[in-house]
């Protein structure tokens, strides 16, 4: 898995466009157990990223990731802004400190996931985006270098998202619903799944 500048640019574009396309679905999920703004918030953030695509893809990878993170922090407008923002800021920060792709992909992704956990003071099993990101990290560690890595990540993300439905939320707005949050997919886990699937699809197309 190599990451050329053109690959990175199209990867960001595909990921942002996929999130924007999924905004109505994210809103529907968030109306069920949150405040209904996850779709419009993520759409606004991803549109801002697309608006800066030239500037972002002109940067070295670490700075580009930090620019994506900062853009999301400044434009999303909900808790998902700092959460996704911290993910990309931490990934960029890891690459600025002696981590390199593709060899250190799991380490870099791990730093990013840790930043989400710290920002949200949340852990796996609480019906959040971490319930997709942490299983993906585990697959990244377990299957690093394997030829079927991308396929395994796709399956992991889809299965992990489905497992958020029976969970009871204990973090975020959904926790106000208590047991009534059970039976609904988590909107943040869904947007994380959309992002992971979009990145995988983009990389498959470039292999």
């Amino acid at each position: 898995m190599s990451l050329q500048p053109e690959t990175f640019r199209s990867l960001i574009k595909v990921a942002a466009e996929q999130v924007i396309a999924s905004a109505p679905e994210l809103t529907t999920l968030d109306q069920a157990i949150g405040d209904g703004d996850h779709g419009s918030n993520m759409k606004r953030g991803c549109e801002a990223v697309l608006g800066k695509l030239d500037a972002i893809s002109a940067q070295p990878l670490d700075e580009a990731l930090k620019m994506i993170g900062k853009t999301l922090v400044m434009t999303v407008g909900g808790a998902s802004g700092p959460l996704y923002g911290s993910f990309f800021l931490a990934a960029g920060e890891a690459l600025s400190h002696d981590k390199h792709l593709p060899d250190d992909l799991a380490d870099v992704f791990g730093s990013a996931v840790d930043a989400v956990s710290a920002r949200g003071r949340s852990h796996v099993g609480e019906k959040t985006m971490l319930d997709v990101l942490v299983p993906v990290l585990e697959t990244l560690k377990a299957a690093a270098g394997q030829p079927d890595l991308i396929a395994r990540i796709r399956t992991t993300a889809t299965d992990a998202l489905a497992r958020t439905a029976p969970m009871q939320a204990t973090k975020g707005r959904a926790s106000f619903l208590g047991p009534r949050s059970i039976g609904h997919l988590d909107p943040g886990a869904r947007s994380s799944c959309v992002l992971v699937q979009a990145v995988c699809a983009s990389l498959e197309g470039k292999q």
Binding site: N41, M74, G77, P82
Partner: protein, 130 residues
């Protein structure tokens, strides 16, 4: 005039943020600087990191700034805004775990007496104690 700790109010709703600031000004007077913000970057319900940073800088006091928030995203975005301030200011801003209206009034009352940032935060947070 001696400088006091300032208060910043961050709500998902611009109306709630403004109304809370109005109550603080009426009950505590103008000796404590109060800034507020509400709404997402498009003006809908939500919170916005750049608006929170502006409010903190508008209300800036060398004695510190206490932020009162409503629901979860306001807290997360306020914590993010504090981290994005210039380094010299970050340690002088705290997010209080307190109800927004009562917390803002109690914090401003305590600040008006010349209390430290830690004291202001503690008084606001007594409202959340069991």
């Amino acid at each position: 005039m001696t400088e006091t700790v300032s208060i910043v109010i961050v709500s998902h709703s611009q109306d709630i943020a403004k109304g809370t600031a109005d109550m603080v000004r009426q009950m505590v007077g103008s000796e404590v600087k109060v800034a507020f913000c509400g709404g997402n970057p498009d003006g809908g319900l939500g919170t916005s990191v750049p608006l929170i940073m502006d409010a903190i800088n508008d209300a800036w006091s060398a004695k510190g700034v206490a932020i009162l928030v409503d629901l979860g995203g306001a807290e997360t975005n306020s914590e993010m805004a504090v981290e994005m301030l210039e380094p010299a200011r970050r340690d002088l801003v705290v997010v209080c775990n307190a109800p927004i209206v009562e917390g803002a009034v109690m914090a401003a009352t305590e600040a008006a007496g010349g209390s430290s940032l830690a004291q202001v935060k503690a008084v606001a947070e007594e409202l959340s104690a069991d």
